[in-house]
Amino acid sequence: MNLTDFITAPVIMTSLGLLFGVILAVAYHYLKVDEDPRIAETEELLPGTNCGACGEPGCLPFAIKLVAGDVSPSGCTVASEDDIDGLSEFLGVDAGEQEKNIARLKCAGGKGQAFQIAEYQGFEGCRAAAVISGGGKGCSWGCLGLGDCEVACTFNVIHMNDNGLPVVDTDNCTACADCVDVCPKNLFELRPLAEKLYVQCNIPLEGECVTALCSAGCDACAKCVADAPVGLMAMVNELPVVDYTSGLFTSDKTTQKAIDRCPTNAIQWLEGNQFTELSDEEKRFKART
C-alpha cells in the first residue's frame, strides 16, 4: 500500500485542486457580478463607522458614490486627513477643499440667564419637555437644557455644562448634524469654523420683552449692525445676521466694536468651543498645568 498511497494522495489532491480551480475560474468568468472592484477597495479605506455623517446611509453607499465621482473624499467627516489623502491617491481625484464645519448653538440662555415660568416634571429630555406646554422656559425659543443633543450625538462630543447648555467639543465635532436633527427648538446649525462672528440667540422679540425673559438674549437694539462694517450685518426678524458672502468679514477683529457694544453679549467672537465646560476652579487648574 505504501507506494501507491504516496501516489494516490497527491493525485487526488491535485485533481481536487484542479477541479475546483476550474470550477471557480469558470464561475468567476460566468458568474462575475459587474461590480467595480474599486468599490470594495474604497470601502476598505473608509473608516467603516457607518455613521451617515456624509449624508449617505453608510460607508458602502458612500464608497459607491466616491468611485462614481459624485462626491469628494472630504465629504467623509470622520476619516482622518491621512485617510482622505490615501483615498484620493487611490481614486486619483482631488481631495477637495476641506472646510471644517461645526455645530453652533443659537442660544446662550442657560440656567443662569433665562428665566423659568413653570416647572417641568417628567422624564429627562428636551423634546419630552417641549411637548408638555413648552417645558416651562420663559423664552420659548431657547435651549431647554435637558440634553437631547448630548444623547443624540453619535460621536459623543456634546456635554451639558453646569449652566444647562450643551458644550460642543469643536475639535472633535464632525458636523454629522445629529444635534441639528434632534433639537426640538432647532437651535443647532452647522457653520464653518471660520465664521467666527456669531449671534447666540434665537428670540424674535425685541426690547424689554426679551430682557424680561433672558439676560443673555438679543433685544434687537441693532447696535452691532451700526458698529460693524457697513453691509456686513443686518437685522432680520429682530436678530442680527452676519452676511459672510459679502466679503466684508475678515478674521482680524474689525468687528470687535460691534461685539463690545452688545448690551447682552448676545453676539460673540468664537475661536473654539462656544461655552466652557469647566468651572472657574477647573479653569485655574488648566491654566497652571
Partner: protein, 458 residues
C-alpha cells in the same frame, strides 16, 4: 376602575361579545359632581383681551385691524387666510392696543391681537344681522358663511368646522353624529349646554342636517348624564330626524372613532375621515354655536368653560368671552387655592398644563382645572412589568407598553414602522391603567413630535 370586574372584558375575544360599544377603554372616576348641577354663569367683562390669530390647526387668520382701531363686540378683526383658516371676531367693544407676539396657552408666543376693553361701551352684541337665512343658501355659501362665523370644533381639537362640511362631489353624508359624550372627568360644559339649551342643540342639528343633506342625526350622550338625555328628549319632536343615543360610561367614549363604533358599529379605517364613510361628527358646543350664528347672527366670540378641580375655590360653568386671560377667569371664581400645583386646560385625561396664567381662553378651551399636590404627586415610577393592562386599555389596540419602551430608548422610527405610533390619539387610557406609573403618553407625544418634525425637515 380597571380592576373592577367586568364581564365584557373577561370575554373580550375580539369584539365578539360587545355590541353597541367599543372594546378596551378604562373607567376613571368621573368627578362631575362638582359642577354638573351648577347653571351656566356669565363672567363680567375684563380689561384686556388677547386673541391669538391661530387658534386651530391650519393657517392663522390675518389681522385686518391695527393698533388704535376701535372695534365693536362681534366685529371682524381678522379674516381667514386660505381654506383651512377661520375668521376672528372681537369679543368686546374696545380699542386695539397691540398686534404682536403674546403668550399662548402652550407657553409659546404667537401673533395675537390685544384689545383694551372699553369700560363705558355697552358690552352687548349688536344685533346687526339678527338672523341669517340658511334656507336658500347653496353649499358654497353655507361653507363660506361658517368660515366667516369663526366657528371651530368645540370638542377639543378646534378643527375649523367649515372644512368638515365641504364634502367632495363623490361623497355624501348620510349621518350627522353629535358628540355629547363628554367622557373626560370633571368637565360638564357640554352637559350643562344640553340641559339648559336643548332647543338650541336640536335646532343646530336640524340646520346642519339640512345643509349636509344627511338623513339622520344621532346625539350620543353617556348614560351618566340622565338629565341631558331627558332634557333633549323633552324637546325632541316627531318631525326631527334625531335619535338620542345613551352610551356606555367608558373612557374615551367621546373619541370620534369610538363614538362611531358605538353608535353605528363601524370601524373607521385608519387614515380615513368620518366623511369617507358618510358621517359628520360635531360636538354639541359646535352645534349650538352654529345655531346661535344662524339664529342670532352671533359669531364665535364666547364659549362655555368648566372651572373645576380640587384647586379652585368656586367651581363653575361659565360663559367666557374668547380671549379672556385665564387668570381673570380664575379670579372671578375666587382664585386658586394656595395648594394648587398645576392648572390644565381641557380634561384631566387629555388636557395640557398651562405654563402662564396670562394666556387667554381659546375657542377650544373646554375647561380649566386646577389640581393640588395630592393629584400631582405621582407614585414613583416602576419599570414596565409587561402586565398588559395598557394593551387592554388602549381603545385603538396599540401596544403602549412597547411604545413606551421604545420611546425610552429613543427608537422613534421603530415606533412608527412596527407599532404605528401615529395611530395613537393620546387619549391617556394606557397611562391611566399602568400600575407602574409610566408616562406612556408623554413618550408617545415626544416620539410623534420627533417624527413629525423630522418629516417636515427632510
Amino acid at each position: 376602575m380597571s380592576n373592577s370586574f367586568s364581564l365584557g372584558r373577561l370575554f373580550s375575544i375580539g369584539n365578539l361579545f360587545i355590541k353597541g360599544g367599543f372594546s378596551h377603554g378604562v373607567h376613571p372616576p368621573h368627578h362631575k359632581e362638582q359642577t354638573e348641577d351648577l347653571p351656566i354663569q356669565r363672567v363680567p367683562f375684563m380689561k384686556r383681551y388677547v386673541m391669538p390669530l391661530g387658534q386651530h390647526i391650519g393657517i392663522p387668520a390675518e389681522a385686518i385691524v391695527k393698533v388704535g382701531d376701535r372695534v365693536q363686540r362681534g366685529e371682524l378683526i381678522a379674516k381667514p387666510k386660505g381654506f383651512i383658516s377661520t375668521a376672528l371676531h372681537s369679543p368686546v367693544t374696545g380699542t386695539i392696543s397691540d398686534v404682536g407676539m403674546h403668550r399662548y396657552v402652550d407657553g409659546s408666543f404667537r401673533m395675537a391681537i390685544e384689545i383694551e376693553a372699553d369700560p363705558y361701551a355697552t358690552q352687548q352684541f349688536p344685533h346687526a344681522q339678527s338672523s341669517i337665512d340658511v334656507g336658500d343658501m347653496d353649499v358654497g355659501q353655507f361653507i363660506e358663511s361658517v368660515q366667516m362665523s369663526g366657528i371651530v370644533g368645540m370638542g377639543g381639537a378646534a378643527f375649523p368646522s367649515h372644512v368638515k362640511y365641504s364634502i367632495p362631489e363623490e361623497q355624501e353624508i348620510t349621518d350627522l353624529l353629535v358628540n355629547g359624550a363628554e367622557c373626560e372627568p370633571y368637565l360638564t360644559n357640554d352637559h350643562r349646554l344640553m340641559v339648559e339649551r336643548p332647543e338650541a342643540v336640536l335646532l343646530g342639528c336640524e340646520i346642519l342636517r339640512h345643509q349636509l343633506s344627511a338623513k339622520r342625526v344621532a346625539i350620543g350622550v353617556e348614560k351618566n348624564k340622565p338629565e341631558s338625555i331627558s332634557q333633549l328628549k323633552k324637546y325632541l319632536t316627531d318631525d326631527m330626524a334625531i335619535d338620542i343615543v345613551p352610551l356606555e360610561v367608558k373612557y374615551p367614549q367621546g373619541a370620534e372613532k369610538m363614538l362611531i363604533k358605538s353608535i353605528y358599529d363601524k370601524e373607521l379605517p385608519a387614515g380615513k375621515l368620518p366623511r369617507d364613510i358618510g358621517i359628520a361628527v360635531n360636538n354639541v358646543g359646535t352645534i349650538v354655536a352654529l345655531a346661535d350664528y344662524f339664529e342670532h347672527g352671533m359669531p364665535l366670540i364666547e364659549r362655555i368653560v368648566t372651572l373645576a378641580g380640587p384647586g379652585v375655590h368656586e367651581p363653575a360653568n361659565l360663559i367666557v368671552p374668547i380671549g379672556t386671560p385665564i387668570r381673570d377667569v380664575l379670579d372671578f371664581a375666587g382664585g386658586l387655592k394656595d395648594e394648587t400645583r398645576e392648572v390644565i386646560s381641557g380634561g384631566p385625561m387629555m388636557g395640557s398644563p398651562i405654563a402662564d396664567l396670562d394666556a387667554p381662553i381659546l375657542k377650544g378651551t373646554s375647561g380649566i382645572l386646577a389640581f393640588t399636590e395630592k393629584e400631582t404627586s405621582r407614585p414613583s415610577e416602576y419599570p414596565c412589568i409587561r402586565c398588559a393592562r395598557c394593551l387592554e386599555a388602549c381603545p385603538y389596540f396599540l401596544n403602549p407598553s412597547r411604545l413606551a419602551l421604545l420611546g425610552k430608548a429613543r427608537l422613534f422610527d421603530d415606533m412608527q414602522e412596527k407599532y404605528n405610533v401615529m395611530d395613537c390619539v393620546e387619549c391617556g387610557a394606557c397611562t391611566y391603567a399602568c400600575p407602574s406609573n409610566i408616562p406612556i403618553v408623554q413618550h408617545i407625544r415626544t416620539a410623534k413630535d420627533n417624527l413629525r418634525n423630522r418629516k417636515t425637515s427632510q
